[in-house]
Amino acid sequence: MPKAKRRRLTAATIAATLGATALAACGSDDDGDAEAGPAELTYWSWAPGMDKVVDIWNKGPGREEQIKVTVKKQAQGDELVTKILTAHKAGKAPDLVQAEYQTVPTLVSNDVLADISGEVGGVQEKFEDTVWQQTTLGTDAVYALPQDVAPLMFYYREDLFEQYDLDVPETWEQFADTARELKQKAPDKDLTTFSATDSGLFAGLAQQAGAEWWTTEGDSWKVGIDAPATHRVADFWGGLVEEDVIDNEPMYTPAWNKALNTGKQIAWVSAVWAPGVLPTVAPDTEGKWAMAPLPQWEAGEQTTGSWGGSSVGVTTDSDHPEAAAKFVTWLNTDPEAVAALAAEGGIYPAATAAQTTGAFDQPPAYFANQADFYDRATEIAKTTAPSAWGPNVNVAYNSFKDAFSAAAKSGDKDEFTAAVRTVQQDTVADLKKQGFEVAP
């Protein structure tokens, strides 16, 4: 019945027209695999300064190989994923795309990213295992090469911590005590805020606590959001909001910018890219911030999560997958390329060797007071816990925003617990709706 009924009315005409374009594009995949060049590739990326890095390729190695790459600047976020999926549907996806790690399973599941394991032999050792695993999804295939990593860290106002005689927290318990102590000493100030609009930060904190939100069991997905590790994080932040010792309003609002700039909030749990954000958010406090490792659940541990980070993949629509793979390998592992990425785009590279190159000798300008900023960052990056992404992270993230916004508003710790369950239910329901098998 389904197939017969599909062809009906005028809809059939439209379907036929659209289908034809898709089919035509599918057939053109396996053309030029013998040689990499000559080829002209398009690359969708949102990294600032990427055109300059690509220029180095086009004038140097790319010229020799006759592989020319053109960057098309994109906006970051969920909408780029939709844009790629739509382009792929029409068979017109670019040869190369930048993809945040958590979107890789979605893109693979939609058959957008090609397996380039045959073309990128030997690069695995250049990355941490926990990073590499996000682009292979634990299989033998390689769907993308890591570009940047974003380990979580603790940023604080060094001067105000001194003024209020606060210790830099090493555990989350101390973090809570610091929040209380500050509230006592300066009732109009907050240590930080719980932001319900930043699903990625919460996911990173859960990752640190050992949560694995998506795993596979045979042929089915297992969703582990409603698990002790996530609840530990949710209870912790819910408790602080309930006690009213931290703020509960979202980050990245004019109000939050002002709070950071005026010292109303004196700390920020963020990632290694924070030095790129703080100058615009809190321009008046340059040189007053310092970075420390993320507080730990158990004293003496060293683990962190991540908030963002991205990879670059070759699409199945590309007519020149070999050439594209060659470029991706150069872009993310070649010392000159990675140094340029750091200098032009301010990104923190995933390739471990690149983290200690000359580009990172000096601390970021905003953190001129902390000379060993990048040495510490490198140490912290090594302690990143494994992450476990699935094919509908976007659904979980949206559910998180709605459920945790309501919880944060209520200021009730129990609501945070309930919100974790809601996110789990929404995520499982969506997987089932799409036809995935879901392990109980």
Binding site: M1, P2, K3, K5, R6, T10, A11, I14, A15, L18, D78, E79, V81, T82, L85, P105, T106, V108, S109, N110, D111, D115, L137, T139, A141, A196, T197, T216, D219, S220, W221, N248, E249, P250, Y252, T253, P254, A255, K258, A259, K264, T316, P391, N392, N394, V395, N398, K401, D402, S405, A406, A408, K409, D430, K433, Q434, G435, F436, E437
Partner: protein, 308 residues
């Protein structure tokens, strides 16, 4: 050549020839996209196994399941109720203000009419997103001069982006932006009233207020109906303001209004199938409500005419 036959042929075919461009544009940019949306809404994606790699996803016939999902979705219903609540504030306040301003501007002894008219109309020229951002700044306690003033005066500072006051905050943006446009429509209708009607009213001893309420308002009723009709449609499609304010507050969810849910499903969750179904439902409800209103109004006018 037989020139005699050609005109005959041309005259017969002319209407169709003239229709072709319009029909073509209508088909390409209206009927076809709607048809495609309807087609999408009857399908869904079926994943096999882990859903990784090529051929793991297939588009299959879904029947009406997307529609039953949309119609039984509690969140969509709540969104619709929120929008109704919002509309119950926006439409009467906006049209009330627009009518009042129009009547005041139409008064013969009003001064600075052109400048005032422009001042009231100007917010309409500001894009909805910009207006929402602008007001968002004024609503956020930490950066708002309003809250600063209240704080200085020792008065309580309300959270405008939460609970019941959120409706007022959102309505305020719509009223601020929409009043001017509606005022111009009503005002234009007022100017079209023949001068002798005014004179007759004055001779009969009507006060300006009586003229306004008993003569002008009934005579611009068609313009009021039109603005009401437009306002209902605009209200049901509210999207810009809540979407822009959403990241600023915990009070607005990603599915606050039905259109926001469509946008989220299609562009954040990549489920264009159920988004299409929801969009079709919204279009249907909007059409029913707006045309239902028009029919009721028309029927009443006809009855009144018959009664006379």
């Amino acid at each position: 050549m037989r020139p005699a036959r050609r005109p005959a042929y041309g005259v017969k075919g002319a209407p169709y020839a003239f229709l072709v461009p319009a029909a073509l544009l209508f088909a390409l940019f209206f009927a076809l996209p709607i048809g495609y949306a309807a087609w999408l809404s009857l399908h869904r994606v079926e994943v096999k196994g882990l859903g990784l790699g090529s051929g793991a996803r297939e588009e299959v016939w879904a029947g009406l399941s997307n529609y039953t999902d949309a119609l039984t979705d509690a969140e969509l219903l709540h969104g619709a109720l929120r929008v109704l609540g919002y509309g119950a504030i926006v439409v009467p306040v906006m049209l009330g203000l627009a009518l009042t301003f129009a009547l005041m501007l139409d008064h013969e002894r009003v001064r600075f009419a052109p400048a005032t008219r422009l001042a009231i109309f100007l917010p309409y020229a500001i894009p909805g997103v910009v207006a929402a951002l602008l007001w968002g700044f004024l609503y956020l306690p930490e950066v708002s001069p309003l809250h600063y003033g209240l704080d200085r005066a020792g008065l309580p500072q309300p959270d405008l982006l939460d609970g019941g006051s959120l409706y007022l905050a959102l309505s305020n943006i719509a009223v601020w932006g929409g009043t001017g446009f509606n005022m111009i429509v009503i005002y234009t209708a007022l100017r079209a009233i023949p001068a002798e009607v005014h004179e007759a009213a004055k001779l009969d001893g009507c006060t300006p207020l009586q003229t306004a309420l008993r003569i002008k308002v009934p005579m611009v009723a068609p313009a009021l109906v039109l603005t009401f009709f437009f306002s209902i449609i605009a209200t049901l499609q509210v999207f810009n303001e809540p979407t822009t304010l959403m990241p600023l507050t915990n009070g607005i969810s990603t599915t606050w209004s039905p259109l926001m849910k469509v946008h989220r499903d299609a562009f954040a969750e990549n489920d264009i199938y159920s988004a299409s179904a929801t969009a079709v439902v919204i279009a249907f409800v909007t059409l029913t409500l707006s045309f239902g209103f028009l029919r009721t109004v028309n029927r009443r006018t006809r009855q009144e005419e018959a009664a006379r």
